[in-house]
Amino acid sequence: MASSSLTPMEDAIRSKLTAALAPTTLEIWNDSHKHSHHKAMEGVTSKETHFRLVITSATFASKPQLARHRVVNSLLKEELEREGGIHALQLRTLTPEEEERLMKRAKELESQGEESK
């Protein structure tokens, strides 16, 4: 059945990761346009080849980064292996606690910046 979506790959990523990881944050950035002139992309018509994901999920707790990335890679195995599928995948994998810490830190830096003005 042909999909009418303009972003079938992004849709597949979203539905698979949502189902398996119940992420509290899931950002999907399609960077393909930045790479469309690359030699490796010659003859590739897909507009969905390069993705950057930010995933926050409690399922990552007590797993090192390598293991977290392996989980995501295996969930997207078919999309990564398929001809004309995902060519490059950047991952940022966090637990809710790590995300909270990062946000807090970012806010602190921001307010420090304001103070020094």
């Binding site: 030699k39 490796a40 980064q65 390598l66 990335h69 890679n73 292996e81 950047q90």
Partner: protein, 158 residues
């Protein structure tokens, strides 16, 4: 940035790479491998013997053909990896290795870093380990960093 990059390191590295990795691999160049065969596994085992630190990348350290490979090389340079303990393998020159390495490590993308035959990760992992200090710790522990440079003594001999 440029001074930290320590270009002599990368010139040496490239020279070493050309010596160590391209020649033994060329024999197998025309084989098309879908699944990791014993032969491919042996080839990759052999490549991992060539140096304690091995980076599978697209292009060469001097002429990376992909931004993620470039970033990985830069990180290893910033960390001060000893060029005599480093080999880079250009997977674009060898399709057997290009496909095989993905099965070998069960990792779908390139670049891939190995230290003492152990798979460490791809570019994102390297960046995050670089930032957290874990990478420095690992490279130190595995004894693959360049010895500290001796400060040149001032003055001339009489």
């Amino acid at each position: 940035m440029a001074s930290l990059f320590r270009s002599p390191v990368f010139r040496q590295t490239t020279a070493r790479v050309l010596r160590t990795s391209s020649q033994p691999l060329q024999r197998l160049q025309f084989q098309q491998i879908r699944r990791l065969s014993d032969e491919t596994r042996k080839t990759i085992d052999g490549v991992l013997q060539t140096a304690p630190v091995v980076l599978f990348m697209k292009g060469t350290p001097e002429m990376p053909q992909c931004g993620f490979s470039r970033a990985s090389v830069q990180i290893l340079g910033l960390q001060g990896v000893d060029p005599t303990k480093f080999a880079a393998v250009n997977v674009l020159e060898n399709d057997e290795v290009r496909q095989g390495i993905k099965e070998y490590s069960n990792w779908p993308t390139i670049p891939q870093l190995y230290v003492n035959k152990e798979f460490i990760g791809g570019c994102d992992i390297l960046v995050s380990m670089h930032q957290s200090g874990e990478l420095a710790e690992l490279l130190e522990k595995e004894q693959v960093l360049a010895p500290p440079e001796e400060t040149p003594e001032g003055g001339e001999k009489a």
